[in-house]
């Protein structure tokens, strides 16, 4: 798992790349929380275009980020999910909690 970031007028975009499973989840959430503390963004975008694999551990990470942004008074959403993450998002129904935007 790698996380690249872009910060632009209050919006932090996190580009997640690689595989997000239970093995990777704890480090991933810790790094994301550090980034949220550092940037204090108004919006947090999880860009999943480079994520080759995600399972329910990734769903838990996304829900954590969304909750965290809510307590900071901001919003979080998903952008450009690759095909496999998209199927997991669909099967889990988290798009009812965290919006999914495709394309720009």
């Amino acid at each position: 798992m790698t996380i690249n970031t872009a910060f632009n007028s209050g919006r932090l975009t996190l580009y997640l790349a690689g595989e997000l499973d239970h093995h990777e989840a704890r480090n991933t959430i810790r790094r994301i929380e550090e980034l949220l503390d550092e940037y204090m963004p108004r919006d947090c975008v999880l860009d999943l275009a480079g994520l080759n694999f995600m399972d329910s551990s990734g769903i838990a990470v996304i829900i954590r980020v969304s909750r965290r942004m809510k307590t900071l008074g901001g919003r979080a959403w998903i952008e450009n999910p690759a095909k496999q993450p998209q199927r997991v998002i669909d099967a889990s129904g988290i798009d009812r909690l965290v919006p999914v935007a495709v394309g720009k």
Partner: protein, 146 residues
């Protein structure tokens, strides 16, 4: 008619084996000529079952996990993931979407994802003795793409 084929793998419940288990399952499934989407579904279901054994069956120790894959009826992949850990008292409740005993790090969606990505999902468990998850996925034969 393809000859039936199988593999058996056994590994300790370390989280670093999650990626190995799903990659091995995908490599075995390749002989059925699945689409990328079918391969993704198989990897996801294996990841869920193996992660459950690592997280829930052996919460405070390293235990044994056995994964068996076989081809049945020519073009169906059967996956079984077995542990000898804690077991599940109420399987029906455990399989309910969002049910979890795992706290914030879990979403309670593992069985739901296995059920929606596989054609069949069967769970046998007894508390203190362990759990076996058996899943089947039919891979439709593709014509003229080779």
């Amino acid at each position: 008619m393809k000859e039936s084929n199988y593999i058996k793998l056994e590994f300790p419940s370390r989280s670093s084996n999650e990626a190995f288990a799903r990659t091995a399952a995908a490599a075995f499934a390749a002989q059925l000529d699945p689409t990328l989407e079918e391969l993704g579904d198989i990897k996801t279901a294996v990841s869920e079952a193996v992660t459950n054994a690592i997280v829930h069956a052996y919460p405070d120790s390293i235990g044994r996990i056995a994964m068996r894959l076989r081809i049945i009826k020519g073009s169906t992949l059967e996956i079984s993931v077995r542990d000898w850990g804690k077991g599940i008292a109420d399987v029906e409740q455990a399989m309910t979407p969002l049910f979890s005993t795992g706290g914030e790090e879990r979403s309670g969606m593992g069985f739901t994802i296995m059920g929606s990505f596989m054609d069949k999902l069967r769970v046998r468990s007894s508390p203190g003795r362990g759990t076996t998850v058996v899943m089947q996925r039919f891979i439709s034969p593709r014509q003229g793409l080779r």
